[in-house]
Symmetry: C2
Subunit: 589 residues, 2 copies
């Protein structure tokens, strides 16, 4: 049982048969076709040689198949994590050096170990601290940065820059040096890919192809672009006219090597590795959860951490870089009929064959084609409409989202995501530090209590009844003290304060001390504090303290009990008045 | 109106009369007697010359009288803030140098400006992020550190150390060099002060003194100790036998000077200044609030920030160091009958006279006496019993409190308080990220729904009803997704899921997206998602989105409506069964 939990392959592997294998193999072929250009392109985005992208798409997929719980997740290099890798590794080594590659490998190992540790310690909840608006803002901003960073390859210029403003300024300065042929290739490929994504499938179906086949062909758009532009460069000798090409890619098995264990390198990459782990996990788990639900299956988030951790450790020992589950790729895998993680292992075999046999064919592949592939892929991640939707629904969430986007664009991925997380936590605490408090009155003829501002209700001049619509904890404990003190100071006739706790799910130690302070202050001023409708678990904990022994007033089961006990004449009058009204109404009928 | 808000003196000053002045003056005399030895001692604790303590007890009191809202708060140097000052300033300059004093002055200015800015921007809620257990743990640990740090003066040895372990180790190494006469003075003074605090007042009352006078005499214990030990040193020439004395204290007005505006100094003190501001404010405002409530008065927390800010700015321009409202001193002020902040201004006059006239008399004051004064004062702050009380009530609060104490003792005041704040926020998020979720059934014969695990209730096999006892926000959004997915995957008979939202005070953008994801996944699996008992403000916000248009199920006003609509036969059967039971019970009677 426990072994199956940590090795999900024992579960599905025991029931594996030929039919399942066929489904998985078909899905694997389609994902392999999609993954070859993507893995080359994302390696380039991460600042690494193209073959590293292939290496990162072999061992990780096999390890995820052993340890992962999603039946459809397709693991490998993805755009956002590749950008984060480039940002992190760029701080410790120069692109193109062996140290740069070594640092990327170390980053994969650290991320893998962190993910595995989080899984074993069941720390998956840490991913919750990335709120949806922050993630969405972060991915949008990353998409914009990635697209902007690839424009230099499309134009064939040597531009640089560490944030959006620098990248755009550098592009503007160097645009005069643009290589026209490169630009034609880049723009044509991008235009073709946009067209293929939107129009090719309907067109093929209209031409009479089966939808399934039309879909596969449309998904193979990047492969067609790679083949056509490579042939064009090779046939027309465009590389001799300034078109940058991928060049010689060593063919062969991924290199087995021990990653660097240099403590200085590890400590300078630690924060980056943590952010990459959490962002990668959040992206991956939401895709996996969505696809699993479609077939009413389950994934185990903590085991997913172990699966992704194993994948990254595998990447590190085979010369790869950080990987995670990709959104588009997993959807393709699912749609193509993948039934078990074995589909991922089959894909790994496909990529391995590509690494052994296809790399000579990629020599004349123009860099601009890969850049166009990246741009088309990441622009689908950009969702500026989310800003408007968040604004409409929640101002604090909007603030966190806007800050994440602005800081990611202006100061880079790590500053952006840290600011987003910090701000969403701060704003959550701020919002719940000023909870809604309603002053209550009795709805005549009922036992219900409502806000005196919104309803026509009955109150007693010497009884103040308040309902706090929030758990009581340190962030709002003082607010409660202030609120009660203000209300009591404003009305010298008061003798009783009743706090209705129906919406109070928790009272922490700070709030307990505040309640004690409120009670002591009220007692000193000649008032009594009562509670009503305290929830069972909250009451259980209060009973473990001496608060209830010292409380000047009582704890009432219902708000009506409290009102009737403290202001019986008003409560009874309200009931009589109601009876009279009812009688009159009946008489009038 | 607005001017009165920012200048509370205009309010109470307009009604000021001779009777009030008399009360204030009497209180001021008593507080002055208490404050003279305290201000010398806390200056020493902060690593500053003793006269600086007097300087910090003049201008700040006058400025607080103008801008503060508490009628009884006595502002001046306090133990914990003095310790924090020593820790902060010790990092940028060596004790005894003009730079050290200059840095303490700059710290007061920065803290004053931060407090004023927080007041003007109404950021007083930031103090809420210090939970009560963290504050209590911090003050306990500070008290222990302060007491330990003063032992060297009691023993007359030159010990050092930056944390408790170092201080104790250094004391153990140097104890052989202890000066016996100094030790006799220190221990006798400490013993006398402990005795005076507990026993002197009852003794005097038993001897026939009026309780008020007995109280004043008991409070003057430190002054008696100062006078007696000074006389002893002077008369017996003990300073020539190795007893450290305060020495020459320049007499005169506080020096008016512009604090240092060095940006490097400011940036290295910024975090310390913020922590000192927040800790000082929290201590001060809780004393002020407690005392105000006793007379059913109000303080304005945001204006208190301005009052304390003005006091610290005043301290900075008159050669002082950070100040705040002191607990013991304010209680004395209140008990002695202070009616307005003018009592503080009168106290300032008293201290000014002391600075002008009394300093020559303090030449032979033994340092051991001041150390004993500090130890007796701070040991009353140590409350290790709080750890046990917090443990009984709340494990997360206990963890935050223990971490604060341990880190403060082990790594210093700033590490301790930052760890405490960070941990309490983390634990709050963690706790609310795993809310209590109850699966519900109908209590037969009622319209109430209760936890199926605790009550004998009726359910329908195709309807899952869940109540979430927490607001839904980013930290628990994914938990909810997991929880619903688990429940649905476990029971293939389910067709409807109803989330009862009676305890949901908020749904943030992350939780909204999670609800959308849950709805889409349920729909894909052939189920429908319903909500019930959604609160008004939550519903208002949901209506601003298209969530309700896409929701596969309905929103029901009550849980019973939902159950009756989705499982009418079960609901009706429960009602019929109940009627039958009632009829049988009546027949049996």
């Amino acid at each position: 049982m426990s072994l199956k939990r940590y090795l999900p392959i024992l579960d599905w592997g025991a029931r594996y048969d030929r039919d399942t294998a066929t489904s998985d193999a078909v899905a694997a072929v389609i994902v392999t076709i999609m993954l070859i250009p993507q893995s080359l392109a994302y390696a380039m985005l991460a600042g690494l040689p193209p073959e590293v992208g292939l290496y990162a798409s072999i061992a990780p997929l096999i390890l995820y198949a052993v340890f992962g719980t999603s039946r459809a997740l397709a693991v490998g290099p993805v755009a956002v994590v590749s950008l984060m890798t480039a940002a992190a590794v760029g701080q410790v080594a120069a692109q193109g050096t062996p140290e740069y590659w070594g640092a990327a490998i170390a980053l994969a190992l650290m991320s893998g170990l962190m993910l595995t540790a989080m899984g074993l310690l069941r720390l998956g909840f840490m991913a919750n601290f990335l709120s949806h608006p922050v993630i969405s803002g972060f991915i949008t901003a990353s998409g914009i940065i990635i697209a902007a960073s690839q424009l230099k390859h499309i134009l064939g210029v040597k531009a640089g820059g560490h944030n959006l403003a620098e990248v755009l300024a550098s592009l503007a300065q160097t645009i005069g040096d643009a290589n026209p042929i490169t630009a034609v290739i880049g723009v044509s490929v991008a235009a073709f890919l946009f067209w293929a994504r939107k129009r090719l499938k309907p067109l093929l179906i209209a031409k009479g192809l089966r939808p399934r086949l039309a879909d596969v062909i449309a998904k193979a758009g990047p492969v067609m672009a790679v083949a056509a532009s490579t042939l064009a460069v090779w046939g027309l000798g465009l590389h001799e006219r300034g078109v940058a090409i991928v060049g010689a890619i060593p063919s062969g098995l991924p290199p087995l090597a021990l990653p660097s264990l240099d403590p200085a390198l590890w400590s300078s990459l630690a924060v980056s590795a943590l952010l990459i782990s959490v962002v990668g996990f959040v992206e991956s788990v939401s895709v996996a959860q969505t696809l699993a639900a479609k077939r009413r299956q389950r994934i185990a988030p903590d085991q997913e951490l172990i699966g992704l951790g194993a994948a990254n450790i595998g990447a590190a020992f085979t010369g790869g870089f950080p990987v995670t589950g990709g959104f588009a790729r997993s959807v393709v895998n699912f749609d193509a009929g993948a039934e078990t993680p074995a589909a991922g292992a089959f894909t790994a075999v496909g990529i391995l064959l590509a690494a052994l046999l296809l790399t000579p064919l990629l020599h004349f592949l123009p860099v601009a084609t890969l850049a166009a592939t990246i741009i088309v892929a990441v622009l689908s991640l950009v969702d500026l409409g989310a800003l408007r939707r968040t604004w409409v629904y929640s101002r604090p969430d909007f603030a966190a989202q806007l800050a994440t986007i602005a800081l990611t664009l202006g100061f880079g991925v790590e500053a952006g995501i840290l600011a987003g997380v910090g701000l969403s936590i701060f704003l959550h605490l701020y919002t719940s530090s000023r909870p809604h408090v309603a002053v209550l009155g009795l709805v005549p003829g009922s036992e219900h209590f409502r806000n005196i501002r919104r309803h026509n209700v009955v109150t007693a001049p010497h009884v103040l009844m308040m309902r706090i619509d929030e758990s009581l904890y340190f962030a709002n404990a003082r607010f409660l003290e202030d609120h009660v003190a203000d209300a009591v100071a404003a009305d010298p006739a008061l003798r009783h304060v009743v706090l209705m706790c129906s919406a109070v799910n928790e009272i922490d130690a700070s709030a307990l001390e505040s309640l004690e302070a409120i009670d002591q202050r009220l007692t000193a001023a000649g008032l009594r504090l009562h509670l009503s409708e305290v929830k069972g678990p909250v009451m259980d904990r209060l009973k473990r303290t001496d608060f209830l022994d010292h409380l000047s007033g009582d704890v009432f089961l219902t708000q009506y009990d409290a009102f009737h006990a403290l202001a019986p004449e008003v409560a009874d009058a309200a009931r009589r008045a109601e009876r009279r009204d009812t009688a009159r109404a009946q008489a009038a009928q």
